[in-house]
Amino acid sequence: MKRYVSGRLLQLIPVLFGVTFLTFALLSLAPGDPVQKKLSAQGIAVTKDVLLETRKEMGLDRPWTLRYASWLFDLLHGDLGDSYKDGTPVAGRLVKAMKYTGILAISAFLLALVISLPLGIYGGIKKAGFLDRMIQLFCLAGYAVPGFLLAVLLIYLFCIRLKVFPIIAKGTVQGLFLPTLTLALPLASRLTRQVRASVLNQMEMEYVDGAKARGVLKPYILIFHILRNAMISILTVFGLSIGTLLGGSVVIENIFMWPGMGKMVMDSITARDYPVVQGFVLVMAVIYVIINLIVDISYHLLDPRLEEI
């Protein structure tokens, strides 16, 4: 187990290397000059001399490969650099934004679970009944609604028509409700489908017939056989959903002005505040890989057939 985890974490290194290198290259090749952006944002008249001066000050006169090397060097010392915009350390801003994104993502994930588990199990057991058809319709619709459109509809309903929530979330508890719902609904529809499918799949397994033939009572079969084994494939989709959740939160955070990482990175991209973008990508990649690792480990715990790790 220990060897497996450390092995996987070791594999993380080339991935992170690739991700950050790619981002650095992308940032350097992109049109738009961060210095110009910064200066005009500060209201300083942009002349050629000022541009060159500031560029030298910010270390941007060096070739990007060199800058990448020094960024890596700083990273090893736990320094993610300073923001171009206001000179604050990137790490501090990331931690603060991460807290907000974490709250949003976790609450959305929990809400999706609460919706999808009962619906999916019910749909699987009472296949092709009226309620099951309704559930399937909900799932299909949930698939087809883009997150931002759902957000707009929810805003229209709750903020404009019913006037129960503020439009702009700004990180308050009250403001958490709508972005959570927006993120959770598409995720819930996806999970419901998977839960239903796995339950149906397991119900057709031969060992379920075997248990029935022995006269095992139905609740035992449902809980200890069908759900127990269905969890394994449900877990796959949970793992895959996390990527979607993180990506989706970028868009949703910007709509609701939720002060999380998504909002931060969009602002930074617009302002060409590259160190922040770079830090964001790094953190996202680490989170993503670690979550996948946790999912893989829980596979092994749920399914003893897999090789010992």
Partner: protein
């Protein structure tokens, strides 16, 4: 035996596939014939009738500049369908090519290709797309490029997995004993064998790409501003949704219906051909 039941099911599924194919081709037709279907010029502003409710001249009303929303929605079909097909076509071909090579030859080549895949996967999809589109500047080509960059990995992984299972089939060994070489086996046995599942996945992917594309436009990094595109129309109209809800609802409904139809087509194809991860998904 079970056969009798499934025969009935299959003909029902077949009807479903045909029905959704019909709907999809209808959408394709709308996007092809868009310039002939519109009632007004989608880019002409009308100072006298701004944020106007639907009437006979403007079936879906007008936006804040007085442009005809109906015509803009129709023209938007073009952008949406074209870009989604483009993204899926490019990522499907590149992803599949890499995946087949990776799965068939294995070894070092496989490890390198899958390593690159891992790097792309470690970026959350939407984040990379936003990054590329945001940095390279907001226009349609860049948005397509951004979505393709994130899209090819899923095809590569899928086709690699399929090829690796297929390589173990007895008829591949039999083909080798018949004197067929690697390229011949790949073209004649492996590619046709996995094509069905890839196409079904591509169909399902189309709707996801449409959502992604509209999302980029919504954030202002998809198409450039005056262009008629559903995402950017929604984004622009959200500011005055209170006065003119139709300016949001019309493109929103168009987007929803289009995505829904493609999704249903993909689903029915998967049911009909009985492939995919589970039979009931």
């Amino acid at each position: 035996m079970m056969r009798y039941k499934t025969m009935e099911n299959r003909s029902r599924m077949k009807r479903q596939v045909i029905f959704f194919l019909f709907l999809v081709s209808l959408l394709g037709l709308v996007s092809l014939l868009a310039p002939y279907l519109i009632t007004n010029d989608p880019y002409t502003t009308n100072a006298l009738y701004r944020k106007g409710p639907p009437n006979l001249t403007f079936p879906f009303g007008t936006d804040k500049l007085g442009r005809c929303i109906f015509s803009r929605v129709i023209m938007g079909t073009r952008t949406s369908v074209f870009s989604a097909l483009m993204v899926v076509a490019v990522s499907l071909t590149t992803g599949t090519a890499f995946g087949i090579i990776s799965g068939y030859y294995g070894g070092l080549l496989d490890r390198v290709i899958m390593g690159i895949c891992d790097i792309f996967l470690a970026f959350p999809q939407m984040v990379l797309a936003i990054g590329v589109a945001g940095l390279l500047g907001g226009n349609m080509t860049n948005a397509i490029l951004a979505l393709t960059l994130t899209g090819w990995t899923s095809y590569a992984r899928l086709s690699r997995g399929l090829v690796m299972t297929m390589k173990k089939e007895t008829y591949i060994s039999a083909a080798r004993l018949s004197g067929s070489g690697n390229i011949e086996i790949m073209l004649e046995h492996i590619f046709p064998g996995i094509a069905g599942e890839l196409i079904i996945n591509a169909t399902l992917q189309i709707s996801a790409v449409m959502i992604g594309f509209a999302g980029l436009s919504y954030l202002g990094i998809g198409v450039s501003v005056p262009e008629a595109e559903w995402g950017s129309m929604i984004s622009e109209a959200i500011g005055y949704m209170q006065q003119a809800p139709w300016a949001v609802m019309a493109p929103g409904a168009a987007l929803f219906i289009t995505v829904f139809v493609f999704q249903l087509l993909g689903d029915s194809l998967r049911d009909y051909f009985g492939v995919g991860r589970g039979r009931y998904e």
